[in-house]
């Protein structure tokens, strides 16, 4: 043990911890027992320049092989405070050139950290981008609420979060006749007077006189506001120490941030970096980078941002549970989920019952409740493989394709339009109504899913759609282009729908929580640069239409081999560039969109497969491994990175086989866990220790009500058209449907590619509608009539009802309660029928019915 530890110290960077997911069955330890060894990072400190500082991270190794942060509790002392000082948070600050030692003591152990200070004499080099911008960012000057907003604040405008240093330099030094900066009397510069509150400042006091931030601003002013040289080193990466820790439920952890420069140098940036918690119930972090656990258990992360670069610190806060009993792992999903649960000390729930499984799988795969007969047969089936077989069978049903076409209709914005019942008077309209396109696109999606078209092929066909939007020879996928129209909106949706990335921010400014810049955005958009909307002119020839008029019905989506894009600053983008890729030269006879599809489907693409498996995970578990499920980014890490990676690789290996993915998910033990918690997993909402109940989506719930009452809804389109009888809610092609039930339960209008547009919460208006609205009250009659006509014993009929509503048999108590209710209230035919009606009404309003559990 001792030996391994000294080896770790030898690495000198950070402890290699028994990482979540790879640990043995016992709970990974944090520091307990007696202190075995003490370490500080870095092992030696070099400080260069006035006010240079370095955050020390002091860590103790304990008898149980666990580690604990001691940065704040250790006592640190500088042997020569004329050279460098150290404060209570173990931050070492340069005073004057020379050498000293920081003596660190904790629990009777001592270590010594040598310090060398240089460069404090003579002229201090200050670079505006490297040294001043971070101050403005840290103080919040350039945020979107203050001077960073598009029109600035009270006449003073900075670029958002300092992404355009040149612009900011000009604003500070040159604008307003230079009155913001007075090098000869730096204290009287507005740049200092305003933020310290010496004169009126709408943003209030942001800066202390004499603070390090104040001092560097003052030095920069006194030095005559240098911008710096173009060959000065630039920050190219940041790192955080440590990157991951297993923490106690009541613990603190100091973080240190290092900025890596283009010349290979490294500088501590802890003081200037910004810290944010991604999990505010689990972790808190202060401006100095001190993380505090808040008493909850689980996994969380802290985002660190410095100079447009981001990284995260991850914390695992396990619970201590005695022996963990795990069910059998069925496939790769279970291996990774269970490994994570072991690391967190969370035992999973038991397997769900057969009735729960058939109801759950039928609802999730086909959007349809199992019938009473199906449920009874499945429960009685003795085949040990019956669950796998059921999943296979459900995937073959037309309802599978219908239900997932609903999902993809949301993502691909199959919005449609109004439709009426008029047959017309023989005159054909000049162009097709848009709902015709919606019907065709919807049918195309549905057929693609039914045939199990490989997902990369499916996306390629959407991305490369072209040709007329009306008349003959229309490609169904053209609707996607009709909805989105411009390269900017196309790239937004491409990124969000297929790459799980929200890149919209970077259209106008560097993405605040990601590395994406405007060049990344426009490079991706340039794949769409050669699309051109064309219309038939007076001379009967196709001509390009003006920019704002593109994407109308009747136009043709054509190709302009010379097409290019311009951003709002007039910068031209003619070469497409994939995210993290190099610019591509695309010959004029090749549509760049084909190249985009190639890049997406390449096995190395880090986004495409992950985005899809994460989306499908969200469908079956109610939340993505990355949540929100179309927001994959470094600063929003997955709850189980190994699982996301493994599932994505499996999806790629299967050649993007969607049914294979559904099968893998639904036959996993994880998916088959009960929603009933045990003593130790009650609080888990993130790691799938049990199945989390979800309200049925609007269409599924309405279909379920229709099915159990035997009373199908007839749907009306906005405009008055009646959809054919027997059309189910999950089969509706577009969003132009007038049905209050669907509206109140959250059917989206398909105005964005985000699945978050669908309301999934429970609201009061929904409860009022289900309890007292006309939808349910109108439907009860037909099942009541069947019950009245059914001459079987009451027990049989009630069992039938329970199977059809809940895919289970009633308990003795339930059976008794219902029979008693019927007996008490059945004075005659009328009251008997009313009593049946009451029972159906009550069961529709139970949570067991409304939820998938």
């Amino acid at each position: 043990m001792r030996k391994r530890f000294s080896f770790l110290i030898g690495l000198g960077i950070s402890f290699v911890l028994p990482l979540a997911g790879r640990a043995a069955d016992k709970v990974p330890p944090f520091g307990k027992g007696s202190l075995i060894a003490l370490t500080a990072i870095p092992q030696k400190i070099e400080l260069n320049g006035v006010d240079a500082c370095q955050q020390l991270i002091v860590t103790g190794l304990y008898a149980n092989n666990g580690v604990r942060d001691l940065t704040r509790s250790a006592t640190c002392r500088s042997e020569n405070t004329a050279v460098a000082t150290v404060d209570t948070q173990a931050r070492v600050t340069a005073v004057a050139d020379g050498a000293t030692t920081i003596v660190v003591k904790a629990d009777g152990q001592t270590i010594r950290v040598p310090v060398v200070v240089s460069g404090t004499r003579g002229e201090q080099k200050i670079n505006f981008t490297n040294d001043i911008i971070p101050v403005l960012t840290k103080l919040g000057c350039n945020t979107g609420a203050c001077h960073g907003k598009a029109e600035g604040q009270n006449g003073f405008k900075l670029s958002l979060l300092g992404f355009e240093p040149q612009v900011d330099y000009h604003a500070l030094v040159r604008e307003s006749r230079g009155r913001r900066v007075i090098p000869t009397a730096s204290e009287r510069s507005l740049l200092l007077l305003k933020p310290v509150g010496a004169i009126g400042h709408g943003g209030g006091k942001r800066l202390e006189v004499g603070s390090p931030e104040y001092r560097i601003l003052k030095r920069w002013l006194a030095a005559g506001m240098p911008f710096g040289n173009s060959d000065d080193p630039k920050v190219v990466a940041i790192s955080v120490t440590p990157q991951h820790r297993i923490l106690d439920v009541k613990a603190q952890q100091q973080l240190a941030v290092t900025a890596h420069y283009s010349d290979g140098s490294k500088v501590d940036a802890t003081q200037m970096a910004e810290f944010r918690t991604n999990d505010s119930l689990l972790l808190d972090v202060d401006k100095d980078g001190l993380v505090t656990t808040l008493g909850q258990r689980g996994e969380g992360s802290i985002m660190v941002r410095y100079q447009g670069l981001v990284t995260v610190f991850r914390a695992t806060i396990p619970q201590e549970t005695p022996a963990l009993a795990f069910p059998k792992a069925s496939n790769l999903i279970d291996e990774h989920v269970f490994a994570k649960l072991r690391a967190l000390g969370i035992p999973p729930s038991a397997l769900c019952t057969d009735g729960e499984f058939i109801r759950r799988a039928s609802l999730d795969i086909t959007g349809t409740l199992p019938t009473a007969e199906e449920a009874a047969k499945f429960i009685a089936d003795k085949d040990p493989k019956k669950r796998e077989k059921l999943v296979d069978e459900l995937l073959q049903r037309p309802a599978y394709a219908a239900y997932f076409a609903l999902k993809w209709g949301d993502i691909l914005r199959v919005r449609g339009g109004t439709r009426d019942n008029k047959k017309g008077n023989g005159k054909k309209p000049a162009v097709d109504p848009i709902h015709k396109r919606a019907d065709e696109f919807h049918a195309w999606i549905r057929k693609s899913l039914q045939e199990n078209k490989p997902y990369d092929q499916f996306v390629r066909e959407v991305l490369t759609a072209q040709g007329p939007t009306s008349g003959s020879g229309v490609q169904p996928q053209i609707l996607w282009y009709l909805e989105l129209k411009t390269p900017e909106r196309l790239v937004d949706d491409t990124a969000q729908a297929f790459l799980g990335t929200r890149i919209q921010c970077a259209q106008c400014h560097h993405h605040p929580f990601e590395k994406w810049s405007q060049d990344d955005y426009w490079g991706l958009a340039a794949f769409f640069a050669r699309i051109q909307w064309q219309a038939v002119g007076k001379d009967k020839k196709l001509r390009p239409v003006r920019f704002r008029e593109g994407g109308r019905m009747g136009q043709v989506l054509g190709y302009d081999p010379k097409g290019k894009l311009e951003d709002r600053h007039g910068k031209v983008y003619d070469k497409p560039r994939a995210l993290d890729g190099d610019p591509i030269d695309v010959p004029e006879n090749v549509d760049p969109r084909q190249k985009l599809a190639d890049w997406m489907a390449s096995p190395e693409n880090p986004f495409f497969a992950k985005a899809l498996v994460n989306r499908y995970w969200g469908h079956f578990f109610g939340r993505g491994l990355v949540d929100p499920l179309d927001d994959l980014r470094i600063t929003n890490p997955p709850s189980n990175p190994d699982l996301l990676e493994a599932l994505a690789q499996d999806f790629i290996r299967s050649k993007f086989d969607l049914k294979h993915l559904v099968r893998t998910i639904c036959t996993s033990t994880t998916y088959q866990l009960s929603s009933l918690p045990n003593d130790h997993n009650r609080g888990d909402m993130k790691h799938h220790a049990r199945f989390l109940p979800r309200r049925l989506p609007a269409e599924v719930l309405l279909d379920a009500v229709d099915q159990v009452t035997g009373s199908p809804t007839e749907f009306t389109a906005m405009g008055g058209y009646k959809f054919p009888k027997g059309t189910r809610a999950i089969e509706l092609p577009d969003a132009y449907v007038s049905d209050y039930f669907l509206t109140v339960f959250g059917k989206p209008k398909r105005e964005s590619a985000c699945e978050c547009e669908r309301e999934t919460d429970v609201t009061l208006a929904q409860r009022v509608h289900l309890l007292n609205g006309s939808t349910v009250s109108r439907k009860l009659g037909s099942r009541v009539a069947r019950l009245m006509a059914d001459k079987r014993p009451e027990d049989e009929k009630i069992k039938d009802i329970y199977l059809s509503f809940f895919a289970r048999y009633p308990t003795a108590d339930e059976l008794g309660a219902i029979k008693q209710y019927l007996a008490e209230r059945s004075k005659d035919e009328r009251t008997r029928s009313a009593a049946y009606s009451d029972i159906l009404w009550a069961l529709i309003n139970t949570k067991e019915f409304i939820f998938n559990h």
Binding site: N278, P677, E759
Partner: protein, 427 residues
């Protein structure tokens, strides 16, 4: 949640994620989350609070400011128009001769002149959301108010809309304004409530294992079931709409027009009952768009009705002692051109319009802003007020911080308002 802000952003620059919103809660009737319900439960009924309310009255079509409040007696006749100004009970405050009742109560309202809009076509989207239409659809003010509902008593909806409404947009449907023609109203009052035997039966059968219930959505379902049953047994909302509860004399004062008569009285009753934001159409519905025969239409059809009904509403506001609690704001989608066109009409003029305000505990009896001798002096202020400034004023009264960011459906944080300065002269 990540924000754009520095560590010390504090309240000024605070942001919340969609998910956090759910936890934090604080919403209108239909959007009540579990947290709200639990909080409500924890509170015993309390005294009526000093919760304020906003009533927005749309002048649908755009009103000709020069012929009402922005009178220009010294302008050339092609601007001045046919009407003469008259003195009011506030020295120096002039109104059109066709607003004689208004002249008697000028101390009870304030006019903001030179209101600028982006919209120049007939759409109330900006009037309802504060923003010009664009790729990102913005929520209506009523939805924002529902989202940040701070009232203690939430038995009435936070927002009621009886007029155009931009909708809840990215806030989600649960923050939609309550509509008297909407499904919730129908569900509450059309099917006769739930008999006790059904309530009991549901209670006995709704027994998904308790342990599973320890999940926010399931708990919410139970709470909403209880709350729904309570609401179904109450007639409070319906009664607030019912102007027949008012004495005939009062209804007579407002006038019997549906728009700009009954709607105004309903709006005041709703605000009095505790609704935070009521949106209605005002007098002269659909007639304001006076490209032709402006003076004849104004004199004969619109202004007499306007004068009577709005006068009634403002005096009623004071009579009921609501002038410190309820702010009435009357405006259209834009102003109308100061220069009279060849059809004796006035055209659309987004550069300058007006808002009439009454109550809210604000400074009344003033005209704010100067549009110059002819009313076309649109550079009179270095920064004219906009609908957003008006909304900032509303949010100030309601205690809503307009610099809060809400993620839209692209995940991009959007400020409640971009222009967050309130109309200072009112305070």
């Amino acid at each position: 949640m990540l924000t754009f802000l520095g560590q010390h952003g504090g309240k000024l620059c605070d942001g919340l994620s969609r998910r956090e919103f759910l936890r934090v809660g604080g919403l209108g009737l239909t959007g009540l989350t579990l947290a709200d319900v639990l909080r409500l439960k924890a509170q015993t009924p309390q005294r009526q609070t000093d919760d304020k309310s906003i009533i927005i009255v749309y002048l649908n079509g755009g009103a000709a400011q020069l012929d009402m409040f922005d009178v220009k007696p010294k302008a050339p006749s092609e601007f001045r128009g046919e009407f003469k100004p008259i003195q009011t009970n506030v020295p120096g405050f002039l109104v059109s001769e066709h607003l004689p009742l208004h002249a008697k109560i000028a101390d009870k309202y304030t006019i903001v002149q030179g209101m600028q809009t982006i919209t120049s076509g007939h759409s109330l989207y900006e009037a309802s959301s504060g923003f010009a239409s664009g790729v990102v659809k913005r929520p209506a003010i009523g939805s924002i108010i529902s989202r940040f509902d701070k009232r203690r008593d939430k038995s009435m909806p936070a927002s009621v809309s009886m007029a155009y409404d931009a909708g809840p947009a990215y806030l989600g449907p649960k923050y939609a304004s309550f509509s008297p023609n909407g499904g919730l109203m129908r569900d509450l009052y059309s099917n006769g409530g739930i008999p006790q035997n059904r309530v009991d039966l549901l209670r006995s059968l709704d027994n998904l294992r308790r342990e599973i219930d320890a999940h926010e959505q399931l708990l919410a379902t139970d709470e909403f079931t209880k709350k729904a049953i309570e609401m179904l047994a109450s007639t409070k909302i319906r009664e607030a709409f019912d102007v027949n509860k008012e004495p005939e004399k009062v209804r007579e004062r407002y006038g019997k027009h549906t728009y700009g008569g009954v709607t105004l009285l309903q709006a005041l009753r709703l605000a009095e009952a505790g609704v935070s934001c009521v949106t209605v159409y005002g007098p002269g519905n659909n007639k304001w768009d006076t490209h032709k025969n402006n003076f004849k239409t104004m004199k004969e059809q619109i202004l007499p009705h306007y004068d009577k009904s709005i006068h009634a509403m403002i005096t009623d506001l004071y009579d009921r002692g609501l002038d410190k609690k309820v702010l009435i704001a009357i405006y259209g989608e834009f102003g109308r051109t100061p220069r009279i066109n060849k059809n004796a009409g006035r055209d659309h003029y987004p550069q300058s319009g007006f808002v009439q305000l009454a109550g809210g505990g604000l400074k009344m009896g003033q005209t704010i802003g100067d549009t110059g001798l002819r009313g076309d002096w649109d550079i009179s202020r270095s920064k004219p007020y906009t609908i957003q400034n008006l909304f900032a004023t509303f949010y100030h009264l309601l205690g809503i911080d307009p610099s809060i960011k809400i993620p839209d459906n692209f995940g991009r944080p959007q400020y409640i308002l971009e222009q967050r300065e309130k109309i200072e002269e009112l305070f």
